[in-house]
Point group: C2
Chain length 196, copies 2
């Protein structure tokens, strides 16, 4: 049992020490702020209008951050896979009502931390701010790449890019989600796949 519990934080600990060295004591403190839970396929963790209370680290599975327009059409803003941390970022950071939903697209195993704990750690541990800052840089760079692809590429180019950079994503997720992640209709995506 102890072995199993320890295992729950194994990936998170790796995540902390990915770019910098963190002492065992600090790692323990950081982990202690994260609670563990499992989610069901399709489970909605946050609805638009709510203030995001948590940020999520994915041990296993996949979370999807998406918006819905007045006609019920969905657009996927971000996908959070194994060993990544994510949330409805503007809402979590500014503690404002969210424009986005968060949904577990697969049965998942996640660790989550409250905004309060997250920010207290920023004030208490410079190392935590360092870890977070480096993570922000990576996330921001990824979002810049995404913006570039959205303003410069047509549907086929965007799909090919995803094939090259993230082929597992295509195999794993329903094409409906791939389509609205790319900002194209599922019919267009379906045609791209057959035509090549």
């Amino acid at each position: 049992m102890i072995g199993q519990e320890a295992d729950v934080y194994r990936q998170l600990k790796q995540y902390f020490s990915k770019y910098i060295t963190v002492s065992d004591e600090q790692t323990s403190v950081f982990c202690s702020k994260f609670k563990h839970r499992r989610t069901k396929r399709g489970e909605v963790l946050l609805r638009a209008g709510e203030v995001a209370p948590y940020s999520y680290f994915v041990n296993k599975g996949c979370l999807r951050v998406y918006m819905m327009d007045a006609e019920g059409r969905e657009s996927t803003r971000f996908l959070v896979f194994e060993n990544c941390i994510g949330t409805a970022f503007p809402s979590f950071t500014l503690q404002e009502p969210s424009m986005a939903y968060i949904q577990s697209v697969e049965p998942s195993e996640i660790l989550y931390i409250t905004h309060k704990d997250f920010n207290e750690m920023l004030d208490t541990f410079p190392v935590w701010e360092r870890i977070y800052r480096i993570d922000l840089e990576r996330e921001y760079i990824a979002s810049i790449r995404r913006i570039e692809s959205l303003i410069t590429m047509d549907a086929k180019q965007k799909y090919n890019m995803l094939m090259n950079t993230n082929p597992s994503l295509i195999q794993r997720l329903p094409s409906k989600i791939i389509a609205d992640y790319l900002g194209i209709s599922q019919e267009t995506l379906s045609r791209l796949k057959s035509k090549k």
Copy 2:
């Protein structure tokens, strides 16, 4: 003369103390790392393929970070206006060759800092890391909003949004740049403006 020199850093000092309190001594150290220069209209500060050596704070004017495809078509990734800091972010941060160009679209007055100084300050001053981290959060949130608009809106919606959130930008910049910032052709933009 002393008064004029001090004035050059006035906006930068305000920028530092926008979200947190910074001592005068620290502010002085931070400012000392930024050099001052003026740019001409159209001047190119960075070319694709080069590693971005500097990050720029704009006192006056506007910088444009843009990409160019094989056919010479340009896409504006970001615009940096007064009292904002910006650069070819992935290149500056990772010190890799840039995919983007940086150009001064107006005669501008800027302060710039080297990557080395920037990172040394991160290791020396936790306050600097804090300032940078908060700035990253804001920039990242802005980029998320931009991604949302790119995947959910058509050309007219994107233009209307820009009109509402940033009307000065439309008056100030040539419509060619507005168009490739929105990821649409200048002809489409021109038609949108006349129709509604």
